[in-house]
Symmetry: C2
DNA sequence: GACATGACCGAAAACGTTTTCGTGTTGAAA
DNA sequence: TTTCAACACGAAAACGTTTTCGGTCATGTC
């Protein structure tokens, strides 16, 4: 098995020094035209590419950004990454993705693997388990060692760093308001446990919208889905949980779900029970993915502009990376990206 | 901004040599218990972690696997990655993901970025654009430079490497047979252009099933969707294309779609036209993701055992990586992972 | 007292780059 | 012939590790 060719090999082959080869390849003024041509021809022939590892070691920077996301399958994260890549590539950075699968251990592990030299900075969204455990030591350590972090979507106040978030509260409030305007009186919400920051923010937005319209909230109508139920294995349990929301609230005429999956299942349950959407029940989801568009009926959603979130995150990180090293430490920014409600056929 | 602590700094601080520190940290016999304790305590205090870049350079291996996939959002790829990670982690490897977004240029770019030192080997699924252009030079070059590649799902005969594929032909054949057994006489297929290998294999399976049952195939019933229509921006065009399949074939009573999205849209179109599923039309998709399960009605699919595909790919790659370098070159393996039909409510 | 034996530690090379500084060889000016 | 710049190139250090090969002691043995 052949190895990649190195400067040293080229040098030996052409009977010049390593330095000469290096300079020739970068068209240095110091090297004669003859030598430059000779070296470049040889390098091209053997398809020489500088070894990135050696370069990283020498420059103490990799020009790579590490992205850690909880789940790869959500359309939201996919678009965030698209946004990150767009900005990163424009600035000469590459993007590397690792997954936490919503697990604390994997998050820590993957961060350690990348932090020790593989990348220059992180863009990440915190896993559910981490949020539940409230153990943020790995973020602190990473930052302490001089590696910047930008958090998006699922952020946490306890850590000082740049952040990009969505106006979850207002987004939820607007969505619920639309349902109220459409005539819904008994609106249920399918959300996550409160430790997921965006979940609780959206829940509060929901409550606020109800209050503004003089509707008294009912605990019965609030379903906080336990963690781990949104995996393939536990899908039946999730299904039953949502069915019970319908069982407990026969008068329910609207559902606000904090993600696409929850909304889809709610529509499926409604369909099974002969509840007509949107006539007898309106449904709105959060996150504007493909599922919403192709659901039957198509789902009204709160769109998050995921790509924009990615772009903003990349900007913040690169700005910090390119800034003069030991300048002022603080001045962490938090960028808020607005949401829009995309109305489709699941609302009136 | 603090930098990560290095062996050299520890050595200076403790007034010993770098070698001593290195050995002490690895509990070498050569070092006295006193020194070991002193060094380890200091290292722990300052949270010393060896610099992976330096290690990679020295060892000429990174213990990292690079995965390149066309699209992050498909449940299929998500599960493949899960499988890869499972096996990789068990063998002490880490996994790094990069996206091609179905683009040839990004595929080449990302491979180059990872190939030059960042990883030990690739596991990848070829982008549609690459398949269309039939330009495989980047795969050849990578392999020539001694970096092994394992291809999965979308593979290509022109390249010699280990491969993991699905029995697309048989899977499609079985699926169509189920619809025929269920009474469908005019079965349409929504597939991709032929250069996507799995697309054409599935098309052939469909044709074979028809032939076996004495049904003559009709060109009208075969819809080969153009590339690029399955992105968010072009979703309307895709929609219209599928509508035209219905328009051209009013007698159609069955649809076989080569992916989840196509199947979902077909169901949506059927629903709009008042066609009852499965009574008046049966639908089967390929790939068993969440969408199928939660569609209304739930979708019968050909399940691909994505995780198993990932595991097999990782096994093949690691086996090759750990093998004695300059042993026999060839003997490329192709592993076939079987499919199963998961029957749900969209078939009788 | 000479010598071997361990115990403990350090110097240096190597991985592949880039870059700074130095050095030798020209040809021309003095 | 000497001197000096310009030109073309090489040596070496540095990035952070691991590992091989010695080296320096003190101790024990005869």
């Amino acid at each position: 098995m052949k190895r990649k060719i190195t400067l040293k090999q080229i040098a030996r082959e052409l009977d010049v020094s390593i330095s000469t080869v290096s300079k020739a390849l970068r068209n240095s003024e110091e090297i004669s035209a003859d030598t430059i041509e000779k070296v470049q021809a040889f390098a091209k022939l053997y398809n020489y590419k500088p070894n990135n590892i050696a370069l990283s070691l020498k420059n103490r920077r990799t020009k790579k950004i590490g992205v850690i996301i909880p789940e790869i399958v959500h359309h939201f994260f996919s678009n965030v990454i698209k946004g990150i890549e767009k900005v990163a590539n424009k600035h000469g950075y590459n993007v590397i993705v690792a997954l936490s699968n919503e697990s604390f251990d994997k998050e820590v592990l993957n961060m350690e693997m990348l932090a020790n030299g593989s990348i220059d900075g992180f863009i990440l969204s915190i896993s559910k388990e981490t949020l539940m455990l409230k153990d943020y030591h790995h973020f602190r350590e990473t930052i302490n060692q001089g590696m910047p972090i930008v958090m998006f979507d699922r952020v946490v106040n306890e850590i000082n760093c740049d952040k990009v978030i969505v106006d979850d509260f207002d987004g939820a409030k607007n969505a619920v308001k639309i349902m109220i305007d459409g005539g819904s009186k008994h609106i249920g919400i399918i959300t996550t446990k409160d430790y997921v920051s965006v979940g609780s923010l959206r829940t509060n937005g929901y409550l606020s919208a109800l209050q503004l319209s003089g509707i008294t909230a009912s605990d019965e109508l609030v379903l906080k889905v336990e963690d781990g139920l949104d995996t393939e294995e536990n899908s039946d349990k999730l299904y039953k949980t949502i069915q019970s929301l319908f069982d407990n609230n026969p008068q329910m005429d609207g559902v606000f779900a904090v993600n696409e999956l929850f909304a889809l299942i709610a529509m499926k349950v409604a369909h099974e029970r002969g509840i007509k959407i949107p006539e007898q029940m309106q449904v709105i989801g959060f996150t504007n993915g493909v599922l919403s568009k192709y659901a039957t009926p198509s789902l009204t959603t709160v769109s998050q502009h995921a790509q924009q979130i990615g772009e903003q995150s990349a900007y913040l990180l690169i700005e910090r990376l390119e800034k003069d090293e030991d300048l002022e430490e603080d001045g962490w920014k938090t960028v808020i990206v607005k949401t829009d409600v995309v109305e489709r056929d699941s609302t009136k």
